[in-house]
């Protein structure tokens, strides 16, 4: 049966124009950048925005008699800020503004020492006080006798008990725990005749950016970027396929419910109609992916990081987008042709969505271990393989070219099979009205065609 390419082009162009000028598409196009801005910029700012400083007392029962001076030093806000700054510099994912301490507002805690033989069980009632009492009693720290010097024959040091006020917030408690930890370590070192400041300096290793050495020359790498890239590529693939597929489904349902389908079939064959629609939304998905890629490159260029993005990755991303879209888009198109109302499509969509979301959610795991047996196996099992492979290509340790091409070939064959099956169902389903079909019915229709 001959296929008229001009008719396919006309249908594709109409669908493309109708979709790209629709409000739904424009909103969809803006959702991702807005979400990125929210998560990358606004959320950290909101989280780090100054909150009211917690001011209060922390009681200490120090049965060793050695920890109190160190804790007295460690609990000072300036010292807490210094420790945070050091931790931030040592983190693989540095803060947005390197060199500055990030985190919640530092509490101003005053240490109150109780006699070393105080009974903690009795003293803990010190924490119970009226709501508006000042000063606030925040917590009671009870240092165990062997917290600084191990008992003979013991492998580990003792620790401390922490009694907290019912009104103590999580951030202050966390800051207090870190402070007590620092004081205990410093006390243990000093008891062993070591200088805590020297030891801390010895342990400081600031994380450098890696330099990726390749035949094309060296380029600076970023561990954080390498961790995020597979996930971001998977996200682009997911959003492109999901948006294109959903628009394909909704436009087909609309054409069917508007009864325009038979008018179109007066002029074109069912296959021309299907290919035209697939092509139109494919163009739309590519437009969207390209827009996102351009925005990503532009953003990276703002931080002088555009060199981190390998151009071949963009080529592979577009190639994998096409085959993934053909697989999922064809299925969604078939569902659109089979049902009469958008609500009926919801009954058939969950397996498709689960498969798509499941494939996408693997990108994070695969990006972390791109050459594990699981990752390699997933690269060859459709329809997960395109997501798995793009995550591997985007990882810090990309697979050999033959694996990439094999995945592409498998995906292409899968896409052709799915399109073939979809075409069979599409022809029959287009004019079917009445009770919404199940997947079993779709298979029956494919046999009928």
């Amino acid at each position: 049966m001959s296929i008229n390419l001009q008719r396919i082009g006309l249908i594709a162009a109409r669908d493309y124009k109708a979709a790209i000028s629709s409000r739904a598409f424009l909103v969809g196009l803006l959702v991702l950048p807005v979400l990125l801005v929210v998560f990358a910029v606004l959320v950290p700012r909101i989280l780090n925005s100054p909150s009211p400083q917690v001011i209060g007392e922390v009681a200490l029962i120090d049965s060793t008699g050695k920890v109190a001076p160190e804790l007295q030093h460690a609990i000072v806000p300036e010292e807490i800020a210094r420790r945070r700054a050091v931790e931030s510099e040592q983190s693989p994912l540095k803060a947005v503004s390197p060199g500055t301490a990030s985190g919640p507002t530092i509490p101003r805690m005053t240490l109150v020492e109780a006699p070393s033989d105080t009974d903690a069980a009795t003293y803990k009632s010190w924490l119970i006080q009226p709501r508006d009492a000042t000063p606030r009693h925040l917590a009671l720290v009870v240092v165990q006798p062997d917290a600084v010097t191990r008992r003979p024959g013991a492998a580990a040091f003792g620790s401390y008990a922490l009694y907290a006020s019912s009104r103590l917030d999580q951030n202050t408690e966390s800051t207090l725990r870190n402070t007590v930890r620092a004081a205990l370590i410093a006390t243990r070192l000093r008891t062993d005749g070591l200088d805590p400041t020297a030891m801390a300096t010895v342990q400081q290793v600031f994380q450098p950016d890696s330099i990726v050495v390749g035949s094309a020359g060296d380029r600076s790498g970023s561990r954080g970027f390498a961790q995020v890239l597979p996930f971001a590529c998977g996200l682009l693939l997911f959003i492109g396929v999901m948006t294109g597929g959903q628009l394909l489904l909704s436009s087909t349902v609309e054409e069917k419910s508007n009864r325009v389908i038979e008018v179109l079939l007066a002029a074109v064959s069912p296959l021309e109609l299907m290919y035209g629609k697939l092509l139109g939304q494919l163009g739309l998905g590519i437009t969207m992916t390209v827009v996102y890629l351009v925005m990503s490159v532009f953003t990276l260029a703002q931080f002088s990081m555009s060199g981190l993005l390998d151009p071949i990755l963009i080529v592979y991303l577009l190639a994998f987008y096409v085959v993934t879209y053909l697989v999922f888009g064809s299925v969604m198109l078939t569902i659109g042709a089979a049902v009469n109302q958008p609500a009926e499509a919801q009954a058939l969509m969950p397996p498709v969505i689960i498969l798509l979301v499941g494939s996408y959610s693997l990108t994070g795991v695969i990006g972390q271990a791109p050459n594990s047996t699981f990752s390699v196996a997933m690269s060859f099992i459709p329809p997960v393989n395109t997501f798995a492979m793009i995550a591997r290509i985007a990882s810090s340790s990309p697979p050999p070219a033959w694996e990439v091409w094999t995945t592409l070939l498998i995906s292409l064959v899968t896409a052709m099979l799915v399109v073939w099956f979809a075409a069979k169902v599409f022809k029959v389903a287009l004019l079917m009205h009445g009770r919404p079909p199940s997947f079993g019915t779709l298979i029956k229709w494919a046999r009928m065609a």
Binding site: S2, R14, A18, V260, E262, V263, L265, A266, S269, L431
Partner: protein, 326 residues
């Protein structure tokens, strides 16, 4: 000359339901055929198979000598029974799009659309969105879309359903123009009056079978009329007295007078003279054979059909309200 359409032994079933049992049909180029029968008879299924939207389980369909309508779509204009449009598109854009899909250039499609819209009383709707049109207006636009490509074969499935009398008249005029242009026209209807008015040849389908394939003129000759319409000179005349005449089977009174049914085999000329002898007529005439009567007689005579003539008539008339209005 190659026939516009040749159907040979097609059969179509949907699951257990047999839609078309066996159908043979040849339509020469330039002819106007009416495909008639009650709803559910198989008309739309036949048309969809002609258009290669559905495919027969058995048999062949040739359109202009091609094995499938898919190879001759640009030469066909089709107005489906279930018609729709892109609601958000303007009328002009929709018609141009349909014209381009049917192999015309944008300029050709636009020009033809403009002329036909004017012809159908829609000269000013080009820039309006389809969703802003009334149902009747939209139906006329869809008719324009069907014939935008100046097709050689025009297939119209229930073209007049849902239209007001004025729109029906305008549509009939355009169909007649298409006939004069030389197009082959097939249209399906369950309103027999439309078929009588427009068609040269009638194909009747009932329960998936062709029960008639005759020229209208032949039908009139073949199926002799057995009804006489009488309007008496004296409005108070006793019309029921006519029942006493040997040639009269039944007398039905109406506002103007009465309708006299004759026994089978009676000579209408003798009957007219006999009736005029009993009641002085202001007007007396033989009623023309109605397709409805032919259909009922044929179906009643055929084997395996269990519907009574009254049920068939009710079925046809119940579905032909639009036709009555037209």
């Amino acid at each position: 000359m190659t026939a516009a359409l040749e159907i040979a032994g097609i059969r179509k079933a949907f699951g257990d339901k047999l839609a078309i049992e066996s159908l043979d049909l040849t339509i020469p180029q330039g002819a106007t055929y009416g495909l008639i029968g009650p709803s559910g008879a198989g008309k739309t299924t036949t048309i969809r198979m002609i258009m290669s939207i559905l495919f027969p389980d058995r048999g062949t369909i040739n359109v202009f000598g091609q094995g499938s309508a898919l190879m001759a779509k640009d030469r066909i204009g089709y107005l489906p029974e279930e018609r729709g449009s892109y609601r958000k598109m303007t009328v002009g854009a929709f018609l141009t799009y349909m014209g381009c899909l049917k192999g015309r250039t944008r300029a050709q499609a636009y020009g033809r659309a403009d002329r036909l819209l004017g012809r159908l009383g829609l000269a000013d709707v080009n820039a309006r969105k389809c969703e802003d049109l009334s149902k009747g207006m939209l139906q006329r636009v869809q008719f324009v879309a069907a014939i935008i490509n100046e097709p050689e074969l025009v297939i119209l499935d229930e073209p007049f359903s849902g239209l007001d009398p004025l729109s029906v008249r305008m549509l009939k005029e355009v169909i007649t123009e298409e006939q004069q242009r030389g197009a082959t026209i097939i249209f399906s209807t369950h309103v027999m009056a439309h078929a009588e008015e427009l068609c040269e040849q009638i194909v009747m389908i009932h329960q998936g079978r062709k029960v008639l394939d005759e020229p209208i003129a032949g039908l009139r000759r073949q199926y002799d009329t057995r009804r006489i319409l009488l309007e008496p000179l004296d409005p108070g005349a006793n019309l029921l007295a006519l029942q006493a005449l040997p040639c009269v089977e039944d007398v039905k009174l109406n506002d103007q007078g009465c309708e006299v049914s004759l026994h089978a085999g009676m000579d209408p000329g003798d009957a007219v003279r006999a009736i005029a002898g009993v009641v002085a007529p202001a007007r007396i005439e033989l009623a023309r054979i109605r397709l409805e009567d032919v259909f009922i007689r044929l179906v009643g005579e055929s084997n395996g059909v269990h519907e009574s003539p009254e049920a068939l008539r009710t079925h046809l008339q119940g579905l032909s309200n639009t036709g009555a209005a037209a």
